[in-house]
């Protein structure tokens, strides 16, 4: 069984976000981590490796620095890391990103592709389903439990008020929720292996069956019209009244805003 896991190196937004003077994000000044949902996806793949001896290949797209997350994945137990990096791929939206990753994955054998549901920097949850569309395979998103039965996967798929147990024939793409599992730590032996491991680097030339017009900034249907630091909510009203008046005040406001 062969599993491909897509991971993304993201700024650690929990550690605070830093901006350049022009208002763009200062990525260089921020710590980076493996995106949490992706890490849960990797852990799910590693459990399939533990159980069934699956071969786990990790793919990332990004700057050369993104190699770090591949080494982290190998230190956790992944077999192989592929870095997709090329100047012409920069500025990609989710369409161009999914085209790029699909172009890379077409070079690989796979039964299962696992991505995180969404990355904490963009929060779009689009790239996984879009990769599956480009590859013509089924997608099961929001996976909270994954098991393999013969040539099929059985997945608990979360919705707002329910979950579905879904069964799909492989090959199939699954997007993982961070709640799926508790990812393992890197092992000392793993870290040693990761340090020595050869990372495969692919550029534009290695992407299979993708047109230039679908890549990078130029291949991105969506364009940024404006970006800005969030406007902090201003102070509202503050009143000091006796309890009865306070309640009357709240009731007025709730009625005014059609809450009650």
């Amino acid at each position: 069984m062969k599993v491909v896991v897509c991971v993304k190196q993201v700024p650690d937004t929990k550690g605070g976000v830093k901006f350049n003077p022009d208002g763009t994000l200062d990525r260089a000044a921020m710590l980076t981590i493996m995106n949490p949902d992706d890490k849960a996806g990797l852990e799910a793949a590693l459990r399939l490796k533990d159980q069934y001896g699956a071969e786990v290949t990790v793919v990332t797209m990004g700057l050369p620095k993104a190699e770090e997350v591949l080494r982290e994945a190998i230190a956790m137990g992944a077999d192989k890391g592929i870095l997709v990096t090329d100047r012409v791929l920069g500025g990609a939206d989710t369409w161009a990103t999914s085209q790029t990753l699909a172009g890379a994955i077409r070079n690989l054998d796979y039964d299962l592709i696992i991505t995180g549901r969404q990355a904490i920097d963009g929060d779009t949850a689009q790239v996984g389903p879009q990769i599956s569309e480009h590859l013509g395979i089924p997608v099961i998103s929001y996976a909270q439990k994954i098991t393999v039965e013969g040539d099929s996967v059985v997945v608990e798929r979360q919705y707002d008020d329910r979950y579905h147990v879904l069964k799909a024939k492989m090959p199939c793409l699954i997007t993982a929720l961070a709640e799926l599992n508790e990812p393992r730590y890197m092992t000392p032996g793993g870290i040693f292996d990761a340090y020595k491991a050869e990372i495969t680097t692919w550029g534009r030339a290695e992407l299979k069956d993708v047109e230039d017009s679908n890549l990078g900034l130029k291949g991105s249907p969506t364009q940024i019209a404006r970006a800005s630091d969030k406007v902090r909510k201003g102070k509202g009203e503050k009143v000091t009244l006796d309890p009865t008046e306070s309640v009357a005040y709240i009731m007025d406001k709730l009625k005014e805003k059609h809450v009650i």
Binding site: G128, H134, P138, V154, L166, T222, S228, S246, K253
Partner: protein, 347 residues
């Protein structure tokens, strides 16, 4: 792609168990507003099995037209048949704008459809406008008019970005639930109903539904709650959370809490709002006895309306509260509950 061919504002009218989801009505309301600016109409796309009767409800909330895709394959939501239904509607009717709810269904369906029809998709929008792109003219670049400008938070809510899709159609957005306004219901309003079935042939992409399990737990996820009644250390004791439970019940809300409350062992972690808990964006957030540490504010300041009750007038929660009340929560909250109860009863 001839962009001129694409006309009208379409919304995906999500239904679950043949009940129209609230987001569908919100999208019709917002779609109508956009359609008026473009001098066009709003069309609801209703996908399911045995759902045709729901068209009147969509009309009552403002849909000018309803396209119904009705097929037994569409009984429960599954990615492939729904993606086939919606992308076939796009190819057939060519809308210039398509709005989908940013729900667990819409965030799965939207990307699959946008990839199939080759257009852009902007996720989790909180504001939509019609305007020029680029917003300000740039020498040597064509400024296009009447574009959909889609605004969304990113980077964990630390930035906001406005996105356009100038060269592809439809301009697609998923829209966060609870943000857009429904129109007032007009009983008896009728829409033009058109049935359309592109044909459904199961293939490898049709996954099998083995089981549908409803209501995982009785507790509402605080991230889905429209109204949160949140308590902090100032509530005083686990027993005293009763007055918050009562308020929540009266107003149809859910109880959540600050980290101090979880650390004290009064409430479980899944109810915690804040940086190390959950990020919530309810319509109304009551902060009761919560001082408002920056980590707490990070998890709730996006709420539409924040009502804070705290006896300490210097508490930082008042910096983000729309309505701040300096006072004793033990006196105010029970009285508020009673008044809400009678207000609801008299409705």
């Amino acid at each position: 792609m001839n962009l001129e061919e694409y006309k009208g504002v379409f919304v995906f009218a999500q239904q679950v168990d043949n009940k129209v989801s609230s987001i569908a009505l919100e999208l019709i309301g917002e779609g109508k507003r956009l359609a008026e600016k473009l001098a066009t109409e709003v069309t609801a796309v209703l996908v399911g099995s045995g759902v045709k009767d729901l068209a009147d409800e969509l009309a009552a909330y403002g849909a000018d037209k309803v396209i119904v895709v009705d097929d037994p394959e569409l009984k429960e939501y599954r990615t492939e048949p729904y993606a086939h239904a919606l992308s076939s509607v796009i190819n057939q009717f060519k809308p210039e704008i398509l709005l989908v709810g940013a729900t667990a269904i819409g965030r799965d369906l939207g990307p699959r459809v946008s990839a199939r029809v080759h257009t852009g998709l902007t996720a989790d929008c909180t504001s939509l406008e019609i305007g020029d792109f680029p917003i300000n003219p740039i020498p040597g670049k064509e400024q296009k008019h009447n574009q959909l400008l889609m605004t969304r938070p990113a980077f964990g809510g630390n930035t906001i970005a406005t996105i356009a899709c100038p060269d592809f159609r439809p301009q697609m957005a998923t829209v966060r639930p609870g943000v857009m306004q429904k129109l007032e219901k007009k009983e008896g309003a009728k829409a033009v109903v058109e049935e359309y079935n592109p044909g459904f042939t199961p293939d490898n992409k049709y996954v099998e539904i083995v089981e549908v399990v409803k209501n995982l737990t009785d507790t509402v996820d605080i991230m889905d709650a429209k109204i949160l009644v949140s308590g902090g250390r100032g509530v005083g004791s686990p027993e005293n959370f009763k007055i918050l439970d009562d308020l929540a019940e009266a107003i149809g809300g859910t109880v959540s809490c600050s980290r101090a409350v979880v650390d004290a062992g009064w409430k479980s972690k899944d109810l915690q709002v804040g940086q190390t808990g959950k990020t919530v964006r309810p319509n109304v957030y009551f902060a009761i006895g919560i001082s408002g540490a920056i980590q707490h504010l990070a998890g709730m300041e996006e709420s539409d309306i924040i009502v804070a009750i705290n006896k300490d007038e210097t508490a930082p929660i008042f910096d983000v509260a729309d309505y701040g009340i300096v006072g004793d929560l033990n006196k105010i909250v029970p009285m508020l509950t009673e008044q809400i109860k009678s207000a609801v009863a008299n409705k």
